[in-house]
Symmetry: C2
Subunit: 164 residues, 2 copies
DNA sequence: CACACTTTTCACGAGTTCGTGAAGTGTGTT
DNA sequence: AACACACTTCACGAACTCGTGAAAAGTGTG
């Protein structure tokens, strides 16, 4: 397999994975950058690396990494004496952080439902449905947070099991 | 508070709640219809009810309810001898069903990650990251499914507690 | 201090999505 | 059988999103 073939395989995967991220609400370019940083073998990238690797304009990278950094899915580092930032995908708990943003979404749902109960009144059918919604969301959010907290131990347990 | 004022309060809430649904990936009109059906006091609606209630064209309702029905968030009923379908929001486990679609998204992530491990190779850094991703997603999906299964009992427990 | 290099900002064009009005379809009524 | 009513489909216009190229800004080097 030539180097170009490998790159092709990688990019095809990137598009496939990015598509799922997009369906989950992430804009196309951040999705591609995240998928690429995850699947490519390097563990730190300059903006130029990402642009060349994905074969897109540097301008597109700029916006994408800004979003990913703000979501804490990528972190920016700077080696002293160099003129470009390095973007690092901290894979140790990348997905916990990804899910943490989902939890925030869940919380916004919950707050919206709660405010609905307030303005519409809990005694009416609509308000009662909203109250149930709010309770369910609160329950689910707590459960998810607990599950996320359990993951590191679970991961180590699995890794230890594989050692045997 | 006049009837119009109440309607205004309701519609304001609908837009607020729909916004969160949209941020979670639902198109605007289905989001509004779902929010309206949830917060308004009726428990079944004709397409016309929804169009008038939301003050949008019947055409917009048509597409929105089709999507919501296909997502099983709304169900279609037909009273014999009437010429319009009735849309029912089955609030008993509306949110479990909503979350079930989220679980499918999670599964697509998982499958995409797994296929990446296959084509890229588990021994390389990128492949290893994807394998961890796959494992995390599998863990989380199992945890969420378990939490969803616990909800009905939990809800009843809470309802019983309120009775005291 | 000017230059070389990288990244960012900006404005534009292509493509997509959304909701409407108008026409069409289906169903029950007279 | 013709009509009345409700809903659906379709094509359009408006608004938005996305990624690009060009210009600007920032940063280390000679």
């Amino acid at each position: 397999m030539t180097e170009d073939d490998e790159q092709m395989v990688l990019l095809r995967f990137v598009e496939r994975f990015a598509l799922v991220l997009r369906e989950a609400g992430m804009p196309p370019m951040p999705a591609r950058v995240l998928a690429f940083a995850l699947a490519d073998d390097a563990d730190r990238y300059t903006a130029g690396d990402l642009a060349r690797g994905l074969d897109v304009s540097p301008a597109a990278i700029s916006g994408a990494v800004r979003m990913l950094v703000s979501l804490r899915l990528l972190s920016r580092e700077r080696e002293p004496g160099t003129r470009s930032d390095l973007y690092v995908l901290d894979d140790r708990d990348l997905w916990s952080r990804f899910m943490a943003t989902e939890l925030e979404t869940l919380q916004r749902f919950e707050e919206a439902a709660a405010s609905g109960v307030e303005v519409l009144g809990a005694h009416r059918p609509g308000g009662r449905r909203l109250a149930e919604t709010r309770d369910f969301l609160a329950f689910l959010r707590a459960e998810m947070a607990a599950a996320l907290a359990r993951w590191p131990a679970e991961r180590d347990r699995r890794a230890a099991a594989r050692e045997d």
